[in-house]
Amino acid sequence: MKQSLTLGKVTKFMGLGFLSTLKGLFTGKLDKEEFKTFLRKTVVPIASILLFIGLWHMGAKSLYNIEADHKIEKALTDQGQEAAVALRACIASGESGCQPNTLPSPSQVWDSYKSLLRDHNIIAADKAAFIEKTAALNETRTAQGLDAITYTGRPSFVDQIFRSLKTVFAGFLLALFIAVPLGIFIGLSPTLKSAFNWFIQIFKPVSPVVWYLLVFMIVKTLLIGSNEDSSFTISFISVGLCSMWATLVNTAMGVSSVDKDYINVAKVLKLGNFQKIFKVVLPSSLPLIFTGLKITLSVAWMVLIAIELLAQSPGLGLFVWEEFQNGANDSNAKIIVAMFVIGIIGFLLDRLMLTIQNWVSFDKTDAI
């Protein structure tokens, strides 16, 4: 039963079906119907993106003008005519010191993106040089039983992204390991269900900020006397606790609502409890469990920013906060860059989960 594995099938499986249409366009194998789908699925989104950027540009420009007028007006009333003329000239010249601080335009954001990348390259080179320089020294230090010297310079934007991803995956795994087994037990036993129901109903709507404070209270006490930086631990535990509810509820629901026919089959075949759970109940509730996990991952990524910000744990959240506090000329643009990066990574994570879900679920619409 070997079936061919084509690029088209794989991309469709991952929810990226438009890629194969794009391929068809370049290879010239596209009929009228397909061309229409191509228009709808590729051209229309691109057009709407361009429209969005255009509107953003115009909006940013008008905000810029309002802010500039206000600044000049203020200079006129506070410092007099001369200062106002000087400020107007300064704004017109584009000098960074006197630019109005408002929503950055798309081109400013793009520039910031490039400068962040440049910054990353510089830091990466610096780090590589540092590691090379200390390699020999570290060898002797480890031989002597001393701690190796590590690079403690400023993390670049890309480093922050990876720190955030690390935190979110740690939190996600925590949620997975708590919520799935617990959900299975709750789904299987009506007694446990009524025991846990109030707990779930009350703690599900609690805000990430409060979860952070709760975890902070507990972890702080537990880690008394240790010099370790607890910010990472606190933030990933908070992320996990915030996001696990969707999985918990979905797993419990999936397990408790297995088709009666399958349960009858399990009874007639006289499957043992272990067999029944692993061969019948779990496979049949997998689609719901995965829907829960998908929600959990996206919630985890969403609350991560707020929690990193509070916990002062390095990552995109802290980056955004620091840029806001920084108030430099391009800080606003950098915040917008971070916003897009957060959005795009969230989208990719969602697609990743969708792919895994399609992979393990028996209800495949496009089986490879």
């Binding site: 039963m1 026919d261 399958y262 009858n264 089959v265 009874k267 007639v268 075949l269 006289k270 499957l271 067999q275 061969k279 019948v280 496979p283 049949s284 997998l286 028996f362 209800d363």
Partner: protein, 282 residues
């Protein structure tokens, strides 16, 4: 001692006012090696009866005796073919059968079990589809997998709950022959629940109509004295067949009419009289 015995079975669902008696006073004996068909209307409690015999539910009153011992829970001795196939969609044909075989013969080695699986899948001529999932199969093929799964456990008795109900007439005919073939090989006891009188006559030794529920009970039995193997086309001209068929259908139609004419609900009409229009305008 009868092979399977149902003594004064009553089954009620619900409690208090909403209590309904689905089955009442069911008495049935099946001898070893016999093929019995129970024919009845949809909704007459056939599935409840089957579940009582295979041990999925317990009677409210009365007892089900299998080889002299009361039925308690399901058993590998009684194989069940469900109405809606009930295959596990995440397992392939082979895996579905394998799961059953592994439970039935826990002591056999994996190769032996695989041989049994291959054997029975071959028997229902699904070897080319052994690695397919139920979703990729037609209704008839799925039911054949269910047949293979039930038979591969080598049950002493096969209980079939409208196994062919959801299939088209042609597939139905083929599968009837296949089931009869397999049954004929080692003459296990079989109980077929069906809503098709012709199917019952073609396959069974005895036909017992189930009077429609609530309070469903078994009607008088009809013996089918036709030589096996039976031939469908010849059967149509057989005087004996026609007679039995007409008798059963007449019986079922009669109780059907009875059910229609006998309404138990009494409609209380409000006491109303027409208004006196003339006096109203005075």
């Amino acid at each position: 001692m009868a092979y399977l015995e149902l003594n004064n079975i009553y089954k009620t669902y619900g409690q208090g006012d909403s209590e309904t008696e689905v089955l009442s006073n069911i008495n049935l004996t099946i001898e070893e090696g016999e093929f019995v068909a129970i024919v009845g209307f949809t909704g007459s409690g056939k599935t409840t009866l089957v579940n009582l015999i295979n041990g999925l539910i317990e009677p409210t009153k009365g007892e089900v005796l299998f080889k002299g011992a009361p039925v308690q829970g399901t058993s590998h001795e009684r194989g069940v073919i469900f109405q809606n196939y009930s295959l596990l969609p995440w397992l392939t044909v082979g895996q579905n059968v394998f799961m059953a075989v592994k439970e039935a013969f826990p002591k056999k080695s994996k190769t032996e079990l695989n041989d049994i699986v291959a054997n029975y899948v071959e028997m229902v001529s699904l070897t080319p589809a052994i690695n397919k999932r139920p979703k990729e199969l037609s209704g008839g093929m799925r039911q054949r997998v269910a047949v293979a799964r039930a038979l591969a456990m080598k049950p002493e008795m096969i209980i079939m709950d409208e196994p062919l109900g959801a299939l088209d007439a042609l597939t139905r005919g083929n599968l009837q022959d296949e089931i009869l073939n397999i049954w004929g090989q080692d003459k296990r006891t079989a109980l077929l629940i069906t809503n098709d009188v012709d199917e019952g006559i073609y396959m069974a030794d005895r036909i017992i109509p189930l009077r429609p529920g609530p309070n469903a009970t078994l009607g008088p039995e009809f013996k089918i004295d036709l030589e096996r193997p039976r031939d469908k086309t010849e059967m149509n001209d057989n005087a004996n067949f026609k007679e039995t068929r007409n008798a059963i259908i007449e019986y079922l139609m009669d109780i059907g009419d009875e059910r229609k004419s006998k309404s138990t609900v009494e409609y209380v009409l409000p006491e109303l009289s027409p208004k006196d229009f003339v006096n109203q305008f005075k």
